[in-house]
């Protein structure tokens, strides 16, 4: 499903990310330190992280072969559920990722063992 990036793809990606990272950072610190921002835009900016992360996570966890899969056979779902629990207990990023990956491999080993 996932494709491997060519050398050209990689450098195009580097260029895209460089611009997409620098422009928002430079917006007020470098380009326009005294630019007034409309109030609605300032308020909308506050919701960007809250909206973007779930939109990135949900398809990676719940979509299996193009369809929503909420079965016990979805090992990604089990791994994410454990990671979410650890995250709620204020684990740092590294602990959360570790917990999720360990769960992923344990559940996959369990499923392939046929128990």
């Amino acid at each position: 499903m996932a494709t491997t990036l060519s050398t050209l793809d990689a450098w195009i990606l580097i260029a895209i990310l460089s611009v997409a990272s620098f422009l928002p950072r430079a917006s007020f610190l470098w380009i326009a330190p005294n630019l007034p921002l409309p109030e609605p835009l300032k308020r909308a900016l506050r919701f960007v992280p809250a909206a973007v992360f779930p939109a990135l996570i949900m398809p990676a966890i719940l979509i299996n072969d193009g369809a929503i899969d909420i079965s016990l056979g979805n090992t990604h779902l089990a791994a994410a559920a454990v990671a979410a629990l650890v995250s709620l207990r204020r684990g740092n990023t590294f602990v959360v990722v570790l917990a999720g990956m360990v769960t992923l491999h344990l559940t996959q080993a369990w499923h392939s063992s046929g128990l």
Binding site: T3, I16, S21, P24, S27, L29, W30, F47, P59, A60
Partner: protein
């Protein structure tokens, strides 16, 4: 009538001494936070290698982008065959919060020359921003020059953690077999960030709507579902906040 230069360079010997002290204070106080930049770098480096990037391009994307989350997003989208426009827009959306931080920082760092403004903007990160602004609000009498030093000390610590993590992840990446499924670290990393971004009812609604719409929009052409879901989530959070204010 010579006006003092409007930049963040310390002018007097005593100011230079204070600048050095504050710089290293920022560095030391940022150290606990660098575990985060180190582990993000580790994941980013491994994910870049898993996506087929060379060691050189993995280090280059970390250096020029200097943005862990956005890097994970663009690399993930690229490996699932998204168009360049969607990749660029997604990278911009994920980094939009920096515009917010940039605005906030510019109110504190008022004395910078062109080079200092560039450095302050290029290396802006979430943890260094949070730590610095906390310091600035606790010490409102500190001069903009001294503030710049503190922020730079914190930024140096972040940078060291980030590049050390990326280097290790890049080196390990090639040695990690595909059955380890390192790429699943990416959504798990995002998952770990959700708790920090959801603080009140309006942000909860933004998160829930963003997540649900992303599932409904999975079949959208050019993987545009992420953009549709993000905008829907932002709009939903905005509307809830508007109703609450009434």
């Amino acid at each position: 009538m010579s006006e003092p230069p409007k930049d963040a360079t310390p002018q007097t010997p005593s100011e230079r001494a204070e600048a050095r002290t504050v710089f290293w204070r920022g560095f030391v106080q940022m150290l606990p936070g660098t575990t985060g930049s180190f582990s993000t770098g580790l994941i980013c480096g491994a994910a870049a290698i898993a996506a087929g990037m060379s060691s050189l391009s993995s280090m280059a994307i970390a250096a020029f982008g200097f943005a862990g989350t956005a890097q994970l997003v663009v690399v993930q989208l690229a490996t699932t065959g998204s168009t360049l426009v969607v990749i660029a827009l997604a990278g911009l959306i994920v980094n939009l919060r920096y515009a917010m931080f940039s605005l906030s920082m510019s109110r504190y760092l008022t004395h910078m020359n062109r080079r200092q403004r560039f450095v302050a903007a290029f290396f802006l990160t979430d943890p260094a921003y949070a730590l610095s602004v906390a310091r600035f609000t606790q010490h409102p009498d500190e001069s903009p020059r001294i503030r710049y030093e503190y922020y730079m000390g914190a930024t140096l610590a972040m940078g060291i953690g980030w590049f050390a993590g990326t280097g290790l992840g890049t080196a390990l990446g090639a040695a990690m077999p595909a059955s380890w499924q390192v790429e699943f670290c990416v959504p798990l990393t995002f998952l770990a960030m959700v708790a920090a971004t959801v603080r009140d009812r309006a942000t909860v609604v933004a998160a829930v709507v963003g997540g649900i719409v992303s599932l409904l929009a999975v079949g959208f052409p050019y993987r545009g579902g992420l953009l549709v879901a993000s905008i829907a989530g932002i709009a939903a959070g905005y509307m809830v906040e508007s109703w609450q204010r009434r």
